[in-house]
Amino acid sequence: MATTQETQRSEPATAEGKAELDVFRYIPEEDDEPHTETYEIETFEGMTVLDALIKIRDEQDSSLTVRHSCRMARCGSDAVYINGTQRLACNTQVSELSQPIDVEPLPRFDVIRDLVVEMNEFYDRMESVEPWFQPDHEPETGEEYLQSPENRKNIDTVLDCIWCGACTSSCSPAATDSDFPGPAALAKAYRFYKDEREGEETRKRRLEMLESSHGIYRCHTQFNCTEVCPKGISPTEAIMEMSRDAVKEKLRFWR
């Protein structure tokens, strides 16, 4: 799983004991500027940052606001910025972190309130790559499309994307170019691009679409997205592979 590399500010919390959290607080409609609220809580064994935030909300300050739902790293609601890294609050152990634990909303996203950010721009980026199955032929069997286990395996890692936004938050080209789909959307594009069921025509069309001026070549291959992905996906490698393929197609055309 994702690990944080950070300078030790103090000893990590023990399994059972106390933890201190510095939490970003801000309601743009009501506050002049953001501020940090410090909370001290009793911890328990296995406590996650989400558990800690819920405990604060239930016992100390019910106005503290964070999106969360499944609490098992599946719904992708609770990507936040913990001690300087994009992570899911629900699968980050309090005991692993140096204190005070700094919890902020995802950088480069607009804040709606506290740790809740505006996701619509992210969703638009996802939608921009036409992330739906576009087969260019009918299934050979009349029933299902055949797909080799190897081909299915090729797309396995990117299929696990939960749309949490952590990668896109970490990506500098995405921050400066709103037409650049960003790592999550390009990993989603790769999921279809590599799926042999769509057929050769669709594959070519997808590649042409992705190499537009705001497309795959914008990636700086810094691997920030790969480092922060809570699902172990490497959008960078997916983008690099598509870029290589696009260059190869061009060479073939010129020859």
Partner: protein
């Protein structure tokens, strides 16, 4: 005011499938969800989706397995519809691009699951729900269906004996708005948050069940609550039945394979149906053969890392991250946890409820195909089969004479109710909620008795009193989760009461419902559906016949 032909409330697998079907049938369709579609709890389903796809298999065997699994209280006409339509719907998912795991011939893979006579659970690693949810949302994006996300529906608009739409609260802005619709489809999911120890998301609060109930539609068979045999003890997180389907073994603290050793399921062992395995586990614990935290051990260490990585990769992640256990080298401690509601909003196979214009589908609904115990792999199937049928029916039969005025009036009333919640001076919702969840997990769990059920009812009634003056401390109109959780708490109370009342009245043991005083199934008195109706003086219970066709009730063993 928003206006659509068909409005789908909830955007998990069932809602998305209904939306696609309604759109294809030509209706103006929109979805409203308190989350965003991809955050829905369908994504957490792991194991798979059942369908008799293979030549050696027969949908009628699937139907029989489902009837037997239901302990004969599932409606057999609906079960036949589901199992006969299953192959078509699963292939349809594949044709929409869903990334099923593949066998060496490139066909979709299937594996064994509990209570099935044939390995017909079609899967995508151990992330089948995730793949299904994302595939369905892709189809909704492709069709440009309008989605109102992070809108919390709070009320059904009932006037002149029909449904005119809903009232919803915009979580981001705090505004309330009316949604007028000729057909309103409730696909709002389950109610696991009624219990303390559950596999369900925090958002699974039974809102749709409660709203339908308050609009006069009964909740059906609510006492039948599934407790999944393999959940992580510290969090309730689900460890898929696919582990046992692939050959995982359950051991007690004496190293015995207790499912066989103690005769709980002499033929099927670990792959008996979920109610049987959950009872066996807790019996082992009660008789001193369990491990710490009331657990037994699920052993996958004989699989080897490669097989676990390939077929159960999510389980590796979950066990390591949330229980600090490595399934490759050590057994996973597991215990039963609330997982699924067999009961729900009473409706027929087209999703129609008693209230014209109102439909229900998915876990929120009770068609009923699961009866007293759902088989693993039948929930995702229910979502797509009945999602399609409800979507089509709603598109072709939506009312044309719904009243915008009725909806406007309802918005005013709801605004007043929500505002009054902000004025309370009593306890915080989290305290009341915790007490209800605790008593439900303590007294309305796998084993039930009259005294415990009476205690639970009393706690629920007290909680209702406390709720009258509940205190929402957060005064902001922006993303006020203190308020939305307080709104959800009323749903939790309604559902908890219906579950407990149904369980108290049903003096027999059937499927997931087990009573200490009456440990046998009693078909003479109890082969019938429980219908709980809302009245101003509290719930009333009525009963309806079960649809029996080919399969006559007989003793059930695995």
């Amino acid at each position: 005011m928003k206006k659509h032909d068909v409005l789908i409330v909830g955007a998990g697998g069932a809602g998305l499938r209904a939306a696609v079907a309604a759109h294809e049938a030509g209706a103006d369709v929109a979805m409203v969800t308190k989350l965003h579609p991809v955050r829905s709890h369908t994504g957490a389903a792991e194991g798979g989706i059942n369908a008799a796809l293979k030549e050696e298999d027969d949908w009628k065997d699937h139907a029989y397995d489902t009837v037997k699994g239901s302990d004969y209280i599932g409606d057999q006409d609906a079960i036949e519809t589901m199992t006969e339509e299953a192959p078509k719907e699963v292939i349809n998912l594949e044709n929409m691009g869903m990334a099923f795991s593949r066998d060496e011939n490139g066909r979709v893979s299937q594996r064994a699951f509990g209570g099935l006579s044939f390995p017909r659970t079609t899967y995508a690693s151990d992330k089948t729900g995730h793949m299904l949810l994302h595939t369905m949302y892709e189809q909704v994006m492709k069709r440009g269906v309008t989605v109102y996300d992070e809108w919390h529906v709070t009320n059904v608009v009932r006037d002149n004996g029909k449904c005119h739409g809903v009232v919803a609260y915009d979580i981001q802005s705090g505004e309330m708005e009316g949604f007028t619709a000729g057909a309103t489809v409730f696909a709002t999911g389950g109610m696991g948050q009624v219990f303390e120890h559950t596999t369900n998301a925090v958002s699974c609060t039974g809102d749709g069940m409660s709203m339908a109930y308050r609009a006069g539609v009964p909740m059906e068979d609510m006492e039948f609550v599934q407790f999944h045999p393999t959940t992580l003890p510290s969090t309730g997180i689900l460890i898929t039945e696919g582990c046992r389907g692939e050959g995982g073994i359950l051991y007690n603290n004496k190293g015995e394979r207790f499912m066989y050793e103690y005769g709980y399921a002499p033929n099927d062992g670990e792959l008996a149906s979920r109610d049987v395995v959950s009872r066996a586990e807790l019996t082992e614990v009660q008789e001193g053969r369990g491990f710490a935290d009331d657990t037994v051990h699920l052993d996958l260490t004989h699989f080897g890392e490669e097989k676990i990585e390939e077929r159960l990769s999510q389980i590796l992640e979950l066990a390591r991250d949330f229980e600090d256990v490595d399934p490759v080298t050590e057994p996973i401690p597991v215990k039963p946890g609330q997982h699924y509601s067999m009961g729900g909003i009473a409706c027929n196979a087209d999703g129609e409820t008693e209230l014209p214009g109102m439909y229900a589908v998915g876990e929120a609904a009770c068609v009923s195909v699961h009866g007293a115990n759902r088989l693993g792999g039948n929930a995702l199937l229910e979502l797509v089969v009945f999602g399609r049928l409800a979507g089509e029916h709603a598109a072709n039969n939506h009312l044309t004479n719904v009243s915008t005025k009725s909806v406007e009036e309802a918005v005013k009333d709801e605004r007043a109710r929500i505002d009054s919640l902000m004025d309370g001076t009593g306890e915080h919702q989290s305290e009341i909620r915790q007490d209800v969840q605790d008593i439900m997990t303590e007294k309305v769990n796998v084993f039930r008795d009259e005294e415990g059920l009476m205690d639970a009812l009393e706690t629920i009634h007290e909680a209702r009193e406390r709720y009258q003056n509940v205190n929402v401390k957060d005064t902001s109109h922006t993303f006020n989760t203190d308020l939305t959780q307080t709104i959800e708490l009323r749903s939790i109370l309604d559902v908890a009461e219906a579950v407990t009342l149904g369980a108290l009245e049903r003096t027999e043991s059937r499927g997931a419902h087990w009573r200490y005083e009456n440990q046998e199934r009693n078909d003479d008195d109890w082969l019938k559906h429980t219908m709980v109706y809302h009245t101003d003086d509290g719930p009333t219970v009525e009963y309806e016949d079960v649809e029996i066709k080919e399969y006559k009730p007989k003793a059930r063993s695995y």
